[in-house]
Symmetry: none
Subunit: 215 residues, 4 copies
DNA sequence: TATGAATGAGGTTTCATTCAT
DNA sequence: GATGAATGAAACCTCATTCAT
């Protein structure tokens, strides 16, 4: 059922947004169906009515936040300018997807939580989406390092870049609590993207030439 | 009551080890006292007898795994060889602490989980230990980049290195499930440490000279 | 969902009545949620569904029995006959509230138990209701002893009267067991009210004139 | 086992005193064996070792506090002065037994709690001791009202006096919390005894003459 | 004589889910 | 299409008691 702008959102949609926010904040295990319904102003039975189970709701949330992220902060297309700029744009989009408060929840924060404490429920969509992003990233890395790059090295470079990006999601009460004085905000996205890009560009080039020298 | 080496361990110790393993595997919220006791071959009330609560048990596990890590894989002392080698040793020790299967659980995996989904119970020991490791890392970075390095940049460099190390802990069912074909094993620690070191050394130097150029 | 008179009561109401009876009989600490649910023919989780906790159920029971008492045996209005008769009616109403078996539980028996072993949960409603009854009682005492009566004396007279009334609640297995051959029943209420009134009237007058002589 | 003055008290004695204090403060149900042992500086198994069970410890505490009360504040012998003075002394001794802080616990406070929430464990000693005090009280009442007094009336007069005395024990957190501004202290015992005596003397005389008139 | 360790029964509470309307 | 009531399983915790030394 679709609503025109300004019309009242349906219960299903409100549940989706409420759940997205709460799962993003607390993770799957620490979120209760009751709390999600309460924040959505819906009946406690509505989750099971609309989604069959908490588990299925979670999967719907992954789908929903994934689409939202794609819509708000699309990844740069492959056919663009210099690879260095594409890398920056790719990293920036990732950070924005994590730090933005415009969306109901953050798909990539959920992904980061899934890495730490996987919910078997997630398998499908997360793997698919990561693969999609990975393909873009590998393309960029190849453009920078040369297409003859070793597969193992490619995996590791992707790993190094991705880990820095997802680590950004451990904000507020997690990393910030132990490491950071001030929480990282959306407006810092560009600065951090710049840093990660520069850091990683140098890292990539160095690793490639080392590897090249050896072979 | 004291036991000679090799003799049967006391219940408290078995609980500690069982809990370390289970918390490391599943995280705090997904672990149940019943399961911990069962694996330890202990009565379900024994957690309360020995530790007062699940929460306090968790804190004891943090303490225990922290000490174990320090004992098995100590960080390199400050008074050592070249800074580049010290960086490598620092990173290697971290990866070993995460990947080793010799210990009952992994303190740094618990830290990584705490970053993703913080348990307020953790505050003390984790902050303290992170600060300790951070101090060592900052010292190395300063030795490499020069002691006049900007504080903001120092924070970001530490962030970039640490994120790669902790991300290694998202193994088995997490990252591995979505990213990796094969789980990372203890024997890979040196390879990965080498990679992260090289990648980060280049990143650091590049960021420093960029920063230096600007000033 | 509404029920016509005589129709089956809702679970919430059955829980309230069951809890009122059991708390009145055994006190808070000796009553278990399981027993309350069993007597109400309800699931053990229903207390939490309807009242959130045993504690909150207890507060609801205080409220419920208080209203019931007020409805069944209202205190005499201030604008009545001679003060001596008002005193009698006030005391009688109190005893009836304690001894009646028409109501699910006895608010004033709960109050008496709270005096002996206070539950911090009770504070609000009990203090309020006691203050209400105290105001009525002080008014009567003043009418009998003269309005210039000393505040200290007023407190003590109220104390002497109230203590006799509440002591009546230590019935069945308490006082009766040690002091009384036969339990005091509802039909004895008038006899006892008569006794306490006469005893206290004489006491009040004597204390007042003694006090008057001194001044 | 007896100890000379100044010698270290045995565990059994320390348990008795600790239990007396805690039972007096919280009542049987709200006191835990663990807390009693802790306050006594004894092992948690010591209660069962020395007394067989919590229940048996409680009975020992009743016995112990009863003897202590008798020793510190003996009731006036029957062969004394005027009945009015004897009544005063009887009431005063009761209040002192309740309010004194010299003793490890208060037998009469325990009695008052037993009235509100009887522990079947208590039966024996409490009935016996109450009967003893009742006999003294009845003797006094008879001396004042005349020995031909009606048995029913005698019971009621005893009831009226005793209820006022025991009500004093609902101190600190109970009655005081709802009724009293300041807690009643040991030094107030005489004032209260005076009040209860005067109040009750007048009540008794009035009830007797009323009863006499009727007959 | 005494104790630290351990236990089992039972308590309250949480929670996802199902039922009946 | 939606909901308030109800439920069963399982979680954590408390506690008096017992065991083994």
């Amino acid at each position: 059922m679709m609503f025109a702008d300004g019309e009242k959102k349906g219960t299903r949609q409100r549940l989706l947004e409420s759940a997205a926010a709460i799962f993003t904040e607390k993770g799957y295990a620490n979120s209760s169906v009751a709390e999600i319904c309460e924040r959505a102003g819906a009946n406690i039975a509505s989750v099971n009515y609309h989604f069959r189970s908490k588990d299925a709701l979670y999967r719907s949330v992954l789908q929903f936040t994934c689409e939202q992220a794609e819509q708000f902060y699309p990844f740069p297309s492959v056919f663009e300018e210099k690879p260095e700029d594409r890398l920056y744009r790719l990293i920036l989009a990732l950070l924005q997807r994590i730090l933005s408060s415009e969306m109901a929840g953050s798909f990539y924060t959920l992904i980061a939580k899934e890495m730490a404490e996987p919910t078997l429920a997630s398998a499908g969509i997360i793997s698919r989406e990561i693969a999609r992003h990975q393909a873009l990233m590998r393309e960029v890395i190849r453009d920078i390092c040369g297409h003859e790059i070793d597969e193992e090295l490619l995996l590791r470079l992707h790993f190094s870049i991705l880990s820095q990006c997802l680590f950004i999601s451990y904000n507020e009460k997690g990393r910030q609590h132990h490491l950071q004085k001030n929480p990282i905000q959306f407006k810092d996205a560009e600065i951090f993207a710049r840093h990660i890009t520069d850091f990683s560009l140098a890292g990539m080039r160095s690793c490639c030439s080392l590897s090249g020298d050896l072979s």
